[in-house]
């Protein structure tokens, strides 16, 4: 982030290192084609300029052979580049199972970050070096985009849904964080710093934040406050699906399909309960859309997630 003239961004994650190779490959291909096209153009323009004595006899006859040759060559080259990029993109969609989940909420014009231990920060993200982190992005208003050039990644934060993004930082340091989707007046100021720390320093930082409750604990309080426990609680007489042991497992739906109980499924079930009804349960749950903010929602999701490891009670 220093002020000197730079040509390339910092490389601060394992993925960014792989991206550097892809970038080099794309540059090499482009330079090759550029030299070929520009070289031929310049040679032809000089050699066959009007008035030059160069030989113009014996012009090419079977031009379709040339056409087929260069079409095929271009096609094969392009498919190679495609496969390379696609391979890395698939990697971006496969977060490791041991990644730490950090929730990020975008709103005009700030990023609010909530760590699993309940620590909160604004326009800043502290992460430990060498450990995979999965960001769960949401937005309270318009579309934003969480971009970290030093990690070569970004993802839109879309209102009404969760999107995820993961990385494993490899270099300690401060890196810029931007909003990359135009979101109104102060779009350009909606950014901050990602700080990658040694694990020990990171733990100290977490402790210094003075958080009293973890996200899941805050979520448990909200779970009671919004009356969720009235139906989903252990003592309930209402026929509602139990949430213990739910997270991360497939849920059979009334429609005959199966849904994976991930962040998005839980969130959608709270806001749009009629969309994916669990098989064997009447569709009686009311929608909480408009009553729960993104901030509260992610805590309730964190709570339900924390129930995922518990044994399912017999009912």
């Amino acid at each position: 982030m220093e002020g000197k003239v730079s040509f390339l961004p910092a490389t601060a994650s394992a993925y960014a290192g792989e991206m550097n190779w892809l970038f080099a490959g794309l540059i090499a291909t482009s330079v090759f084609i550029l030299l070929l096209v520009f070289g031929l153009m310049i040679v032809f323009c000089v050699r066959y300029r009007k008035g030059s004595g160069a030989d113009r006899g014996d012009r090419m006859k079977k031009t379709w052979r040339v056409e087929v040759a260069w079409t095929a060559a271009t096609f094969v080259l392009f498919m190679g580049l495609y496969a390379w990029g696609a391979n890395l993109y698939i990697e971006l969609h496969r977060p490791p199972l041991d990644a730490t989940d950090i929730h990020v909420v975008g709103k005009q014009w700030m990023w609010k970050v909530e760590h699993p231990g309940g620590q909160k920060e604004i326009d800043a993200l502290h992460v430990p070096v060498g450990r995979p982190v999965r960001l769960v992005l949401s937005s309270e208003d318009v579309i934003h985009d969480f971009a970290i050039p030093a990690f070569r990644i970004r993802q839109d934060a879309v209102p009404g849904r969760y999107e995820t993004l993961w990385f494993t930082p490899t270099e300690v340091g401060d890196y810029r964080l931007f909003c990359a989707e135009f979101c109104g007046t102060d779009h350009a100021r909606m950014g901050g710093t990602v700080t990658v720390m040694e694990p020990g320093d990171f733990q100290r930082w977490l402790d210094e934040q003075g958080s009293t409750e973890s996200l899941a604990q805050e979520g448990a309080a909200l779970f009671r406050q919004f009356g969720c426990s009235g139906c989903h609680g252990a003592a309930s007489t209402v026929h509602a699906p139990p949430l213990e042991g739910l997270f991360g497992r497939p849920v059979p739906l009334a429609s005959g399909e199966t849904a994976m109980a991930d962040d998005r499924y839980i969130r959608d079930s709270i806001l749009m309960p009629r969309a994916q009804v669990a098989a064997g349960y009447p569709p009686i749950m009311p929608s909480f859309a408009g009553q729960i903010g993104e901030d509260e929602l992610l805590k309730i999701v964190a709570y339900i997630k924390s129930l995922g490891t518990k044994e399912r009670p017999a009912r």
Partner: protein
């Protein structure tokens, strides 16, 4: 051949062989505003889009001015309105109409040996719709502006923006009907009004390119119209379509918008391919290399262009599989574009090349389009795009195509056919200086933006971190050279209207039917309907024009 016009007067013999379209209907404003002559309508369009080019250019100048210092010189809201205005004006009021409505209108009937387009009245109506749309757009700008960006992304545009969004939507909506009428006219004219002997494979590539463009105009524009109408409905009536708070889906908007707006990129560039395919053989004095490949690559681009739209959405929240498919299709559509570049280059081989201004623009086009196309391979690449989308890398990429490519082709074509349109020659040296200034000014403006984008400067930023300043200053310096380059033709072309040498019917010794009639052409183009007996571009090294 069927006659091109359906008016009674059109059948009268022309008043004296000397009267050109510029003089035959008289000099009154009324004679221009009520004309049904495709050539006069082309002039009306040229004047209109030139005005918009300088309005959009003024916004661009202020944008580059703002970005000279990291904190920016304008208030963020002012800046946001400037880039929105630049985008809307340049896309819908310059680039999309640019070559089709000016050179396309003027030249297609001449190139196919017709007296006019198939529907002269619709042609005039199309211009009036364009003017109405333009006025609506200008009213939106001067009433206070719009801050959504030209992409109108929801739910920002429907629920959060405080600009004159609906007025701007209305402007674009109306301009769409103008596009559709022009497209319809071209398709019918090229099918029905070709001169005897002018088979499809004897058509100049300019006609083929505009034909492919017209197909996209007619098929894609209605989607834009309905999409913008839905945005207006949600904004005005609060009906939930795109806003999730009302039960809508914001990605639905992006799918619909890019389903038009990606084909629209090809609306902007295909006519440019046509112009370059006319200029290169003429100044290389050689037939176009691989005519059929050039023709069919245009049609392929127009077709595949409808199936690549979601490559604008790789980080927007589409599924992994959608990303894989759309990236693959985007690489496939790059193949026909590459074929064209190879064919133009091969046309130079063993030619007798001269370097008049149109050829300088054409060579500049090939160079800049190649860079734009190659960086297209970067942004079509899934992993690379995750890093580069919505940065200045993308901004630089599409300006290489749209400005380096399309605007160079527009200027190249304008110089090439200027003698035909006005009957006068432009001053050659001034034109060459402008072409070279534009080429270097362009590269200085936009090449630093590739570096900026890869470093991480996001687009639509009114202010930026200080480490990006050096590249922004270079870019702004380039923009001032570019501005001079674009302003120069206004003066020397204007001067040539009165003082330029008389051109004669065929100053470039070019093939093509448009050169077989006087310059400027008579109102009905040809005294005798021409008959075509040979393929196009039968150029020989000697300067004698070839028979057609």
């Amino acid at each position: 051949m069927t006659t091109a016009t359906f008016t009674g007067k059109a059948e009268q013999p022309t008043r004296g062989a000397q009267a050109s379209y510029l003089t035959a209907e008289g000099f009154t404003l009324r004679s221009w505003l009520l004309t049904k002559d495709h050539k006069r309508i082309a002039i009306l369009y040229t004047i209109s889009i030139t005005l918009f080019f300088f309005v959009g250019g003024a916004a661009a100048t202020l944008i580059r001015f703002n970005l000279v210092t990291p904190p920016g010189l304008f208030q963020p809201d002012t800046y946001n309105r400037l880039f929105t205005m630049h985008g809307i004006v340049m896309v819908w009021f310059f680039l999309i109409p640019s070559i089709p409505t000016t050179m396309g209108n003027f030249l297609i009937p001449l190139m196919i040996g017709a007296k006019d387009l198939a529907f002269p009245r619709l042609n005039l109506l199309s211009w009036y719709l364009f003017v109405i749309a333009g006025v609506l757009g200008l009213v939106a700008i001067f009433a206070g502006g719009v801050d959504t960006g030209w992409t109108f992304y929801t739910p920002f545009s429907t629920m959060y923006s405080n600009g004159y969004v609906v007025l701007a939507l209305a402007a674009v909506f109306v301009s769409g009907f103008s596009s559709i009428l022009t497209g319809l006219n071209f398709i019918v004219s090229i099918h029905r009004l070709r001169a005897p002997g002018l088979t499809w494979y004897r058509l100049p590539v300019f006609c083929w390119s505009n034909y492919a463009t017209a197909l996209i105009l007619v098929l894609a524009t209605p989607i834009l119209a309905i999409t913008l109408a839905l945005v207006a409905v949600e904004r005005l009536l609060k009906v939930g379509i795109f806003d999730p708070a009302l039960g809508g889906d914001p990605l639905l908007f992006q799918h619909l918008f890019w389903f038009y707006s990606h084909p629209a990129v090809y609306i902007m560039i295909l006519p440019g391919f046509g112009v370059i395919s006319e200029i290169v053989p003429c100044f290389a004095r050689k037939p176009l290399f691989g005519y059929k490949f050039v023709v069919w690559s245009s049609i392929a681009i127009a077709g595949i262009g409808f199936f690549v739209w979601a490559h604008h959405m790789f980080v927007a929240g589409i599924s992994l599989y959608a990303g894989l498919v759309f990236s693959l299709l985007s690489y496939i559509i790059a193949v026909p574009s590459a074929i064209k570049v190879f064919n133009w280059t091969a046309t130079l081989h063993k030619g007798w090349i001269s370097f008049d201004a149109p050829m300088l623009y054409a060579l500049g086009f090939i160079g800049l389009f190649t860079i734009g196309g190659l960086t297209g391979l970067f942004v079509a690449n899934l992993a690379f795009d995750v890093h580069a989308t919505d940065t200045y890398f993308v901004v630089a990429h599409f300006h290489y195509i749209m400005v380096g490519g399309m605007v160079s082709a527009y200027f190249g074509g304008l110089h090439y056919w200027w003698p035909k349109i006005t009957g006068r020659l432009y001053p050659e040296w001034w034109a060459r200086i402008a072409a070279i200034l534009i080429f270097f000014g362009f590269n200085l403006t936009f090449f630093p933006q590739f570096i900026l984008g890869y470093l991480g400067m996001q687009r639509r930023y009114a202010s930026y971190p200080p480490e990006f300043q050096i590249w922004n200053v270079l870019s702004s310096a380039g923009a001032s050279i570019l501005a001079v380059g674009y302003a120069l033709p206004l003066f020397y072309l204007g001067w040539s209207l009165w003082r330029g040498k008389k051109a004669g019917p065929n100053p470039w010794a070019a093939t093509g039917l448009e050169w077989r009639t006087p310059s400027p052409p008579p109102p009905h183009n040809f005294d005798v309907t021409p008959t075509v007996t040979r393929p196009p571009y039968q150029y020989r090294p000697d300067p004698e024009p070839q028979d057609v």
